[in-house]
Amino acid sequence: MATQHSRAAARLMISPAVILLLCWMLVPLGMTLYFSFLRYNLLMPGTESWNGWTNYYYFLTDPSFTDAIINTLLLVGGVLAITVVGGVLFALLLDQPMWGQGLIRVLVIAPFFVMPTVSALVWKNMFMNPVNGIFAHLANALGVAPLDFFARIPLASIIWIVSWQWLPFATLILLTSLQSLDQEQLEAAEMDGANWLRRFRFVMIPHLARPVTVVILIQTIFLLSIFAEILVTTNGGPGTATTNLTYLIYVQSLLQFDVGAGSAGGVIAIILANIVAIFLMRMIGKNLDA
């Protein structure tokens, strides 16, 4: 029943949001792209000059770039593996009938609401500290030498902390999806003589395939940008052991003031994120039609 009049009104109502987002996207993006071709250091103002592809060459051939890419992949892959497997198991468990389900669910999802700086510092100091941490006390009680987590296995420690934050997210989404699974479908399968394993394999897994994909894609977008957890625990070290792409760009641009190389890195990060984003957008777009 949309008239000419209401169309115009609708356009007027949408435009502030569109204009704001357009500026938010295009202005900084254009600047990043422009800077990435400049020789531009904040410590030497006024010496900006055209640099061609040099920044990209410099950034891509820097050995710490290779390290950062490997670390980023390990971090994203590690957290995804833990949260997806753990999330499916937790969701299946929490979906069973039990007493106090509401309370238990609240406890499980709580870590998701803890701000990244808090969870990183709490794990680093109260749990993983080689002298005063709980893990060290446990190790001493068992008569084993305590492990210095952030010196010996820094990246694994960060993967652990980030997984603790994101496991609730995966659990919550998969649980929501399991609860929307038609009970009659499961009962029909049971009547037909399917045991638990077969019901899981042929009814639940196909049902979970879609939410698992959504979890993987959304988490990947966020995990590519992990920053605070690294900043407050290891500062990217020792060496470059925990430097991911986001952190490397931060170091280049705001600690070494090399705007040109930092921007080239930023463009590369955008391209990588977009590869994931395309798949995610396609899935969400399909849902919009339904």
Binding site: A10, F35, M98, I104, S225, G266, A273, D289
Partner: protein
């Protein structure tokens, strides 16, 4: 029809799930305990910690040492301010797209979503420079703007999915009965959409409260919210476990409560309606 489940099986699942819940929650529980101990006790063994005296001194020390209230106010101002501003822009946009859909509505929605996929580090330098040159660095105003913009796509999307669920027939019936657009808005639409708007507000406040990339990079002292304030504990000075715990508890408590209230809506908001 719910199936019969034996009491024994229910007890076993309850125990297993209870363990899982306890383990996941344990770090939060543990800092709650440490925050109520003296610094000297907080670094002892777990059993000695549990049996030591309880005290509130750390909470006082945190406020004294670092003017905790200032950072708390910053967090409140930034998360509530950005959410309020964002809703002012997002409600009309989502309303128009849900009730007067055009040919390109879907494209606009998808495009808005795509801005959320932009990795923040990709635009770190331009934003930092713009903020430096306009004097927005380390101001609440600057952060309110950034938070509003990064959460705007989520707000529009969530509101859109909620508005979509309002049956169009009701609006038409109201129109037939002679309701003007304003009446339609205030007496028909608003009451129906209120729960959706409330949960959008909750989710966006949570996201803004916990955001830790822009707050760490664009603030120093004045406008630093709790995320940045807690980060200052990363360089320890003497005994600080109890104080760090107290600071952490006060920083996460309000948002933990909001989160528990809005856990159902969280799924819809974070998956952009892909999982309901």
């Amino acid at each position: 029809m719910a199936r019969e489940v034996s009491k024994r099986r229910k007890a076993i699942t309850t125990a297993a799930a209870g363990c899982v819940g306890f383990l996941m929650f344990f770090p939060i529980l543990w800092i709650a305990i440490l925050s109520l101990k003296s610094e000297g006790d907080a670094i002892r063994g777990p059993l000695e910690i549990l049996s030591s005296n309880w005290t509130l001194e750390s909470y006082g020390a945190v406020q004294e040492r670092s003017n905790y209230l200032k950072h708390f106010t910053n967090s409140v101002a930034i998360s509530f301010g950005s959410t309020f501003l964002g809703m002012l822009v997002a409600i009309p946009a989502a309303w128009a797209m849900a009730f007067v859909p055009g040919r390109r509505t879907k494209d606009v929605l998808m495009w808005m979503l795509s801005t959320k996929m932009l990795p923040p580090v990709g635009v770190l330098i331009p934003l930092y420079l713009i903020f430096r040159d306009t004097g927005l660095l380390d101001t609440r105003t600057g952060l309110v703007l950034v938070m509003m913009l990064i959460n705007l796509p989520i707000m529009v999307w969530m509101l859109y999915t909620y508005f979509k669920e309002v049956p169009g027939e009701i609006l038409e019936a109201a129109r037939m009965d002679g309701a003007t657009l304003r009446k339609e808005l205030f007496y028909v639409l608003t009451p129906m959409a209120l729960p959706g708007m409330a949960s959008t507000v909750l989710l966006v406040i949570i996201l803004a409260w916990n955001e830790a990339f822009w707050t760490l990079n664009l603030t120093a002292v004045k406008a630093a919210p709790l995320t940045a304030f807690i980060a200052s504990y990363s360089s320890p000075e003497g005994l600080f476990y109890a104080k760090l715990s107290a600071a952490s508890i006060v920083a996460i408590a309000p948002i933990l409560l909001l989160g528990w209230i809005s856990q159902k809506q969280l799924v819809r908001g974070l998956t952009f309606g892909a999982v309901k």
